[in-house]
Symmetry: none
Subunit: 224 residues, 4 copies
């Protein structure tokens, strides 16, 4: 995740939109206006305040048009999420797995700790509970993120830092899960110490072979 802001993170480039039918002219301009308005509304009023009517008003695009092209609030959210997943983010490369994971969790920490820009991400989570489409888009976004972050783990395997049969995705999840858990489930505050602790825990488990993909080692680790 980029270290600057949620908006930058989500607003990203438009080129991938080339997949749509009409890249140039009014159609594209309308799409951009709607997307901008969606994100702005999301940041200002959160998910609950994101209405088709307001987006129409703000973007200058007629309500009917929004329904035609995006099909409702759902579509607006999905639209924004899709874009978010199309950025060129990659995990840091510090030379050690601990360093990489620490960088990763700190990015999460900063992203959601920022008092202003941090609103939008929570709004996406909220959207998830109202729209199946949003939920799906969300899932695929996270899958994508995990896959990208997993290369840091793969590098560690290649360096011989951790067991060869470690499941890269599992390590990434283990590192970030405690943060998201506190952020969105229990709503407890998070700080640098907690983030570092999560990394340490993930590393300890990894070294102990908990995330080994061969059932044997996983079992043995539990049997101790």
């Amino acid at each position: 995740m980029p270290h600057d802001s949620a908006l930058t993170q989500l607003e990203f480039r438009l080129q991938p939109d080339a997949a749509t039918i009409r890249p140039g002219g009014r159609t594209a301009r309308v799409a951009k206006d709607v997307r901008d308005a969606t994100l702005a509304e999301l940041n200002e009023h959160g998910y609950a305040g994101l209405t088709v009517e307001n987006v129409a008003e703000r973007s200058g695009v007629h309500k009917t048009t929004i329904y035609r092209r995006w099909g409702g609030v759902d579509g607006l959210i999905v639209n924004a999420l899709d874009l978010a997943s199309q950025d060129d983010w990659g995990p840091p490369d510090t030379g050690t797995l601990e360093g990489d994971l620490t960088g990763l969790v700190h990015e999460v920490l900063e992203l959601f700790t920022d008092p202003v820009e941090g609103i939008a991400p929570a709004a996406f989570i909220a959207a998830t509970y109202h729209s199946e489409r949003a939920a799906e888009a969300m899932t695929s976004l996270y899958v994508d993120r995990h896959a990208r972050a997993a290369v840091a783990v793969t590098r560690a395997i290649e360096r011989g830092e951790i067991p060869a049969d470690t499941d890269p995705g599992a390590v990434v999840r283990a590192a970030v899960a405690p943060l998201y858990y506190r952020l969105f489930i229990t709503r407890e505050p998070i700080d640098r110490q907690i983030a570092d602790q999560a990394v340490a825990a993930a590393l300890a488990a990894t070294m102990a072979g908990v995330f080994a993909q061969s059932p044997k080692s996983a079992r043995s680790s539990r049997k101790r």
Copy 2:
């Protein structure tokens, strides 16, 4: 958490209501009817389908009365959450920390895997994103749960099973976080293997001293 169902979990005892001003007669009956209807609606239609109007209809209590006493959907949720936190749940006691934690995560697993009753808890999470009051109630509920579960860890410390300065709450969170993360954030499926893996990871981290409350040992574990 009890292993039977979300409803049982939340519907718990009524006696605490005695704290209210008018314990007898209609007032209490109304309160019960509304609570029942709230939970039923939540289970059937989820948070999005929980409307004051429906609860009024179902409970036979008039809409105006619900607004007067509970102030809207918010209050209904909080009401249910408060009750949920008043049960007498406690963690299993199997003799080993691994056993206790495994029992704990399996409870979570069953609770949210159950196709019918499992709807309500997700609804509570959703509510959290719409109502500050619900979010606060949710937080205090989780804090309560963690505190109760922590006794299993304390027992392990007393048995000398794990480092003496281990933070009990941290261990509990580490064990359940991955499950909630997948359930409510990434919406990936969970199963027994993942639950067990989460316990194993938490244990490994604990043994490595990651959750030690003295900064020194935490650091040393990371430096390793």
Copy 3:
């Protein structure tokens, strides 16, 4: 009508209440508080703003009590109207019918022209359209007023000023009707000139024998 104000006009004496069972103490005090609050509310917010709840609030008398004793908004209005009819008003006595009638219409004029106190009377008219009881009370009030004013006409007959068989009530009505018509039906403004014109018209008709009670003279006047 008294020349001072609508409030004075309506607030009148309480003694007739002696008909009720408990004249003394709290009961009477409650009655007075309610009546005062009713008139105050009527003057401030008009009929539409006269609610049992507000009167209860303002008077410090409980809502339930008001319903018990007055039965609702209707009763409050009727209560006020009854009192109004119990004042000791009488028409002026200037020595000529024209003078008496002019004094009469000027009283009406002033009463309803006064920008502040004039609100209440209109409120009574409004009440008339919502409550049969209020309408009846209103009718009997006007009948009473007409009867009192008629003495001025009777005096004129005795003085030989007008035809002996003149119907006193008809003359009074003829004099005031145009004012009320403009005030409450067409809502056109009224002024001294219009009031005087109404008197002149009533006099002219009277002199022409239009209000003679023997059918013969009335007919002859129409035949011209």
Copy 4:
């Protein structure tokens, strides 16, 4: 006023609606349905029983739409009143002023005496006390009616029947005022005799020069 009924009187022509932006199809149909339902409700339940909800129900037009287009009960009334003022009514032409005025008051008499259709007009009066907009519409309706009726007086002037400087409107008002006064203010019953008496009084006053527009003659008439 047409001699048939209140409904006919008010239901009049629809064409003027062409002034609105979308004359065709649904919009116009909705307008008509709402107007019909309004009048029907008014006739059946009077003003007090005229609720937006009932009109919506009866007309098959949704409540929200009514609020959007008419803004509430006020607007419904005004709508009906406006229509009422758009008819092509004119006073009778019998050849004498007495005949014309008698025809006029008899129309009023019949209109408000009719036990069934006569409800609506009273409802309009009632509306007047609750809605400034309704009151204004009412005023302009009466002004319009008076202006039309005044031509009968003008004809009489041209025939030399009455003083040349007579104020036509004043004569009309003088003739109808007593009826309305009894109908809506004192709620006393009216009959043919009273109506005829009112005409006779108005004529007598007119002949005496009471309604002369030059101040001089008016004064002289009062001096007798």
